[in-house]
């Protein structure tokens, strides 16, 4: 057995069957006032539905707006980070070091290969030319050689220079 309120709600919503409708409308003391109330209720329902729908739309838009803003912020931060962050990541450092080392090795090998086998070692002193006064030392001769030990001494050996008295050894 439905209560009056249940029947009233069903009537407002147009959910009563023909028999129930006839019985319910017959039971109303003032049908016209009830119809007016029904119209008001329907109008209110429509208004509320409209408002609630608008409200829901507005929230959705607000949420969407917030989401867009957040995405934009994140993009800005990311691009700012990309601009200021160090380029020297560990893998890049490793590759750079390896590349520099390879460059050095290649250059060294190339330079070493330019060194001719017959060329005098750059670690030895070279005598470019040498001369003695031929008038004072007509029989003078000059030899150049290198010592055989680890000192790598270059020797310019003169023979036939005029001998000098012991006094010349003075400091």
């Amino acid at each position: 057995m439905k209560t009056f309120e249940e029947k009233w709600t069903a009537w407002l919503d147009g959910q009563l069957s023909d028999k129930e409708l006839a019985e319910f409308e017959a039971s109303l003391p003032d049908l016209e006032a009830a119809e007016a109330e029904k119209r008001d209720a329907l109008r209110l329902g429509a208004f509320l539905k409209e408002q609630l729908a608008a409200q829901a739309m507005s929230n959705e838009e607000f949420f969407s707006h917030q989401l867009h803003q957040r995405i934009a912020h994140e993009r800005e931060d990311r691009s700012r980070d990309r601009g200021t962050s160090t380029w020297w990541t560990i893998p890049r450092l490793v590759w750079s070091g390896a590349a520099a080392l390879a460059l050095f090795v290649i250059t060294t090998v190339v330079l070493m290969s330019q060194h001719q086998p017959g060329e005098q070692s750059e670690y030895l002193t070279q005598i470019l030319n040498s001369r003695v006064d031929p008038a004072a030392n007509p029989n003078a001769t000059i030899y150049i050689f290198e010592s055989k030990n680890d000192n790598k001494v270059t020797v310019l050996w003169t023979e036939g220079l005029q001998s000098l008295p012991a006094d010349y050894a003075a400091k």
Partner: protein
């Protein structure tokens, strides 16, 4: 952008090379009288590393420095004198090159030039010149380039290896290429 690390690494290497290539060197020049005496004096400290070589080469047991000079080469174009009472060794450095320093050497006996020589004095190879007989001894001229003492010893202790040689060559080329 990929070239940036390479360029930086190269610049860094160049900077180090140039800085180390600019190291100053000290050239010791000495007038030495070599003699055979019954009780030889200890060899002067400047000749300690060459003692055995000098003894083997000339057969004397005493080496006395009668004149000397220590010259620090900054530009490689300095000149200096090592004097004794009667002898003078004038050394005129005419620049740094691949082998070391280009030097013009003149041995004076008072005002006379006894001997003149042009040489490339290597940083790791001393130069010994046998001069005239003086009394019972012999006048020797000795020139030695000294740098960092430890590096000097290391170079003598270890045979030169091709990698090191290549590195020094590269250093010199870079040094010469840059103003």
């Amino acid at each position: 952008m990929q070239l940036r690390p390479l360029l930086l690494a190269m610049f860094f290497t160049l900077a180090i090379s140039v800085a180390s290539a600019d190291a100053e060197h000290l050239v010791w020049s000495g007038l030495v009288i070599a003699e055979n005496v019954p009780q030889p004096a200890p060899i002067p400290p400047e000749l300690t590393t060459l003692e055995q070589t000098l003894k083997d080469l000339f057969g004397y047991n005493q080496f006395e420095v009668i004149g000397q000079s220590n010259k620090t080469l900054k530009t490689g174009e300095e000149d200096w004198l090592a004097n004794s009472k009667y002898f003078g060794l004038h050394v005129d450095a005419r620049g740094e090159n691949d082998a070391g320093y280009t030097l013009n050497l003149k041995l004076y006996k008072e005002n006379d030039v006894l001997l003149e020589t042009d040489a490339n004095l290597s940083k790791s190879s001393p130069l010994v010149i046998k001069g005239p007989q003086v009394g019972s001894g012999q006048l020797l001229l000795v020139l030695v380039v000294k740098d960092d003492e430890q590096a000097h010893r290391r170079r003598h202790a270890e045979p030169a290896n091709p990698i090191t040689a290549g590195w020094y060559r590269l250093r010199r080329i870079i040094h010469n290429a840059l103003p």
